[in-house]
Amino acid sequence: MDELDAAKCCKRRLEHLKEYCNPRATETSIKQWKKRRLDRMLVEHFLRSGYYDSAIKLAVHSNIEHLTNIDLFLVSRQVEESLLRKETGQCLAWCHDNKSKLRKIKSPLEFNLRQQEFIEFIRQNKRIEAIKHARKYLSCVEGDQKIDLQHVMGLLAFSPDTEVEPYRTLFEESRWSNLVEQFRQANFKLYQLSPTSVFAITLQSGLSALKTPQCYSKETEKNPDCPVCSDLLNKLAMPLPCSHCSQSRLVCHISGQPLNEHNHPMVLPNGNVYGELSLKQMAIDNGGKIICPRSKEVYDLKDAEKVYVM
């Protein structure tokens, strides 16, 4: 029955994707579809970042629960929370449920969990139990794990407040959050989800595609409609590459209209270029005078010269 549900879920998602390619789709419905796509990706992104409540709220709000993997992530939420409480039980049970798949992707998760349990025994100074635990679970290791295990076994000789490396790091609390991270990655791999958030990657490529050097130059060059010029995204896009352009693409600084043979670029004596249409409109509004919006200098319309950009 689970399989049938999964198949139906697949079908629903396909239906949703098909809506976009529907030849009868109107502009409005495409817009709505794109909005849903953004919400969908945001939900996924939240789930990945561990913002579960936001994810659920957004999914309910936009009515896209059936298009997201919330159920899947809610299971992992429980496991993650238990790990943060320093309980290994749930995660081990999860490992057991997915044993064969985990072995296929060679996940060291279970080994690391057992190792952590051992460390906790030492921390509580229960060394006999630690040895028993190691005999039971850590006896069959191979490859790289051997070195790890040797370090961990070395702990038997140290107390939790030791300053000796690498034993000091083994006692660190951050190992638990590492385990959470490891669990997440294993979970993604298991369900063939991309290890990084699709939303973040799409946003990055979008920022790059939109980013121009002008977005970072003087204040006057900024376009209020340009997303990369907006405060937050501007900072976000800082480390990303700019868009590439081998063909000039000119837009009028005043109207945002493209400059071409129908809207000739005109240069004012101060070197600033604007579209012919905008300048003419401005001349009509101001009684034949043009005020350069950037420098506030006043010219006549006939001062503007045509420029030719190939």
Binding site: A7, K8, K11, L14, K18, T28, Q32, K34, R37, F46, S49, G50, S54, K57, L58, Q192, S194, P195, T196, A200, I201, T202, L203, Q204, S205, G206, S208, A209, L210, P213, C215, E221, N223, P224, D225, C226, P227, L232, L233, L236, L240, P241, C242, S243, H244, C245, S246, Q247, S248, R249, L250, V251, P258, L259, V267, V273, K306, V307, Y308, M310
Partner: protein, 394 residues
């Protein structure tokens, strides 16, 4: 589109198999159960008639039944395996037609560590605020432990209330807001106001015949001032009245009832309200995201090509994408001048220069083309002194 059809075929196949197998199994099991029930009755009859020994025939029947049960089990198991084949095929087709892992793109094109999560979350919160999803924004603030100053939130909360009203198909708060901000909205308000009145009218329409009187009254009161600009739409609204009795849903006017109208008005309203607050018309996040969905396939393709031709690293200049990406006319916010001679984007040290004939080339190209004290325009016969060229700014 192709990939969707491919996968859908397989999924349909699986669903079909599921139901056929289920039917078959049900059938077999029913047969088996009736058989067994008959047998049970026989046995009970036997035991009541004090015959302790089973006759030879009865033993054979029982044995036959047992064999049959075994057969059925193996058959059901086989059917189940068949399903598995179909299911795994879906997985394969999915893998082939959709890309599941985008991470290799990050390592090549972008910095490894990705976007700064703090800034990213702030950007997402702002997006929610301006979309009128105040509640979700606040939830995210809580979970991501980010605080946004109150004065940034306040203008949005009014918006939020109005949108909540619109979601409940209540246009009143929105209309009041328009009245309050009529001056500032300028030309835009008529468009929005008419759309709102239109929706109110449709809402009455949806409620059926008994609202007819209210509808006509409402139209008389509110539509007059829009008659010039929206004649056509109004005609179609009035036309729908004819079908009120027989039911709009079956009439040519059924599209009026489409709930998408309400979603649209929410968007239009948000847009206008945002521009009133001095923000960009569209949410920067969604614009960027949409640009990303265009850019991403191109970048993925590029990577594929690069892998095949085994070029280890063409990204010599890390500060620019390797290929131009056409995002369409509407996504162009800045002028970009690329020198027609050197095919390079202009920048502060290499600005565009206007020759006296009006042609524009970059400063670097100008220097390269200059021989002695003379420069011939690469596009026309004019000769000039390179110092006559003037720097311009787009």
């Amino acid at each position: 589109m192709d990939c969707i059809i491919n996968v859908e075929k397989e999924v349909d196949n699986v669903i079909g198999k599921f139901s056929s197998v289920q039917d078959k199994t049900d059938q077999i099991l029913m047969d088996l159960i009736t058989n067994l029930q008959k047998l049970q009755r026989d046995l009970i009859f036997l035991s009541t008639s004090n015959q302790c020994e089973l006759s030879g025939i009865q033993t054979v029947i029982i044995n036959q039944n047992i064999a049959k049960i075994r057969d059925t089990i193996s058959q059901v198991a086989m059917n189940h395996r068949e399903i598995h084949g179909a299911v795994s095929k879906v997985g394969k087709v999915l893998d082939k037609n959709f890309i599941s892992n985008y991470s290799h793109l990050t390592s090549d094109t972008f910095k490894q560590e990705g976007l700064n999560p703090y800034l990213l979350n702030q950007a997402i919160i702002e997006h929610f605020l301006r979309q009128g999803m105040l509640e979700i924004g606040e939830e995210l603030m809580r979970e991501a432990k980010i605080s946004v100053p109150e004065e940034k939130k306040n203008p949005f909360s009014e918006l939020n209330d109005i949108l909540a009203g619109l979601k409940k198909h209540n246009v009143k708060p929105a209309l009041e807001w328009i009245k309050a901000n009529k001056e500032k909205l300028g030309d835009r308000h008529t468009q929005l106001e008419f759309k709102l009145h239109r929706l109110q009218f449709i809402e009455y329409l949806r409620q059926g015949v008994h609202k007819q009187k209210e509808m006509i009254e409402y139209a008389r009161q509110n539509f007059q001032s829009f008659a010039d600009d929206h004649e056509k739409e109004m005609q179609s609204l009035m036309g729908s009245l004819v079908f009120l009795k027989s039911g709009i849903a079956q009439s040519p006017y059924s599209h009026l009832l489409d709930p998408i109208n309400w979603n649209e008005i929410c968007d239009i309203f948000t847009r206008d309200a945002c521009s009133l607050l001095g923000m960009s018309v569209e949410s920067p996040l969604s614009v960027t995201f949409n640009a990303g969905t265009i850019a991403l396939p191109a970048l993925l393709n590029l990577r594929q090509v690069m892998l095949q031709s085994s070029v280890p690293s063409v990204w010599t200049t890390k500060d620019e994408l390797p290929i131009p990406i056409d995002l369409g006319k509407n996504s162009q916010y800045h002028s970009i001048f690329a020198c027609p001679i050197l095919r390079q984007q202009s920048n502060d040290s290499n600005p565009p220069m206007k020759l006296i004939c009006g042609h524009v080339i970059s400063k670097d190209a100008l220097n390269k083309l200059t021989i002695g004290n003379k420069l011939k325009c690469p596009y026309c016969p004019v000769e000039q002194n390179p110092t006559d060229a003037r720097q311009i700014q787009f």
